[in-house]
């Protein structure tokens, strides 16, 4: 019976192949479940349970610069930083300026959208400095700063952290959360777009959030 002798190892091979296939599928499923998300989602907007902003006020030398009423009725993209920041801040503002240009292609969007840069370095960033700085990226951008207590009161509500970093008195760094925050027209903290920021992603995510806001799922 030579047939049975040859068929046995043949069947064994099929069994081993099937077993390997099953193991492969299981392992694949496990790996894909535990693998890091694709690179693109690193910049995905994080939607939040919209949270009303408590009254806040930013002022400089007694001159009011920004409060809750300035955010009412418009979508606001907020970014915290400082003008002595050579890398992350100008890169983000340049991306926001490009996002603005992209959004200009969408009918009606810019009419109720504002971009606001808030300096967490009032010791060096006067309103004049800030106006020149943000105006360079886009003249429509709004800027503000406040004293430490005012900034902290607003930043805390938005899960933004900042602190003086390393460096000499003239050239110190300020560490700060680099997320872009989306405040909805009801002055609610609505979403958070984490760094690294790219204009196309900002545009896409903002438009998606806006669309869902205007036509909430029934």
């Amino acid at each position: 019976m030579p047939d049975t002798h040859t068929s046995k190892p043949w069947m064994k091979r099929i069994a081993v192949a099937l077993l390997l296939l099953v193991l492969g599928i299981v392992a694949g499923a496990l790996i894909s479940r535990n693998s890091p998300p694709p690179a693109d989602s690193g910049t995905a907007a994080q939607l939040l349970e919209p949270r009303a902003l408590q009254p806040f006020r930013l002022s400089y030398d007694g001159v009011p610069l920004l409060d809750n009423d300035d955010l009412r009725g418009k979508w606001s993209l907020l970014f915290f930083g400082y003008t002595h920041c050579p890398d992350v801040c100008p890169a983000t503002l340049a991306e926001l300026a490009r996002a603005y240009e992209l959004l200009a292609q969408e009918p009606g969007v810019l009419e109720d959208t504002q971009f606001i840069f808030i300096s967490v370095d009032p010791a060096r960033d006067t309103p004049e400095t800030l106006a020149a700085y943000t105006g360079y990226f886009n003249p429509a951008f709004i800027d503000a700063t406040g004293d430490h207590a005012q900034l902290t009161a607003l930043a805390r509500q938005l899960d933004i952290r900042f602190r003086r970093g390393t460096g000499s008195d003239e050239a110190y760094n300020v560490d700060h959360t680099s997320a872009i925050l989306l405040i909805d027209p009801q002055v609610r903290y609505h979403a958070r777009i984490k760094a690294p920021h790219h204009a196309q992603d900002i545009r896409r995510q903002y438009l998606e959030i806006r669309r869902q806001y205007q036509t909430p799922p029934s």
Partner: protein, 173 residues
């Protein structure tokens, strides 16, 4: 033979504006991000390739256009963007180091005069091994993308969608 030599010499001279070399270290695409005229601190980026058999260690950078220059790396720490000063950067034999937005950068402090897109900034890179490298960095408008593909896509997209306003167009070379 002479015309060929002239062509080669010209090619070499023009190519040094973007790729300079010393002891096997080559600098590619050096650029400075244009900033508001009031900005006190700017950043320069480039790639350093080490074609040699020995490690090179970048320890300082000088420029007549700035009063002070430091090497820094942007990092995410405790949920915050922070900058860490770096005192030396090793470029291993046959290796490469990239200075790019959101990561390693040459921090240019106190510009002697405001810089505009199109200006050239000369930088001299000093290595612990005793050599130095002079590069000419172009001032450009630029965002977070640097030279990766992501950036290229954006750049092309902007080009396609821009309507005559080239203000925010990122120059790629």
């Amino acid at each position: 033979m002479k015309p060929l030599f002239t062509v080669l010499a010209l090619f070499f001279l023009t190519s040094t504006t973007w790729a300079a070399s010393t002891h096997g270290i080559e600098a590619h695409d050096p650029w400075v991000r244009e900033a508001p005229p009031t900005a006190k601190v700017l950043a320069a980026y480039l790639q350093l390739h080490n074609h040699g058999d020995k490690t090179h260690t970048l320890v300082s950078v000088e420029s007549p256009a700035f009063k002070h220059i430091e090497l820094h790396r942007s990092e995410e720490k405790d949920g915050m963007a922070t900058m860490v000063r770096v005192t030396k950067i090793m470029i291993p034999a046959h290796g490469k180091i990239s200075f790019e937005p959101g990561s390693l950068h040459i921090m240019l402090i106190d510009p002697v005069a405001p810089l505009k897109a199109g200006n050239k900034v000369s930088l001299i890179l000093y290595f612990a091994e005793g050599s130095s490298l002079a590069v000419s960095a172009e001032v450009r408008r630029g965002g977070a993308a640097g030279m990766n593909h992501h950036g290229m896509d954006h750049s092309m997209e902007m080009h396609k969608e821009s309507h005559g306003d080239m203000k925010n167009h990122e120059h790629k070379h």
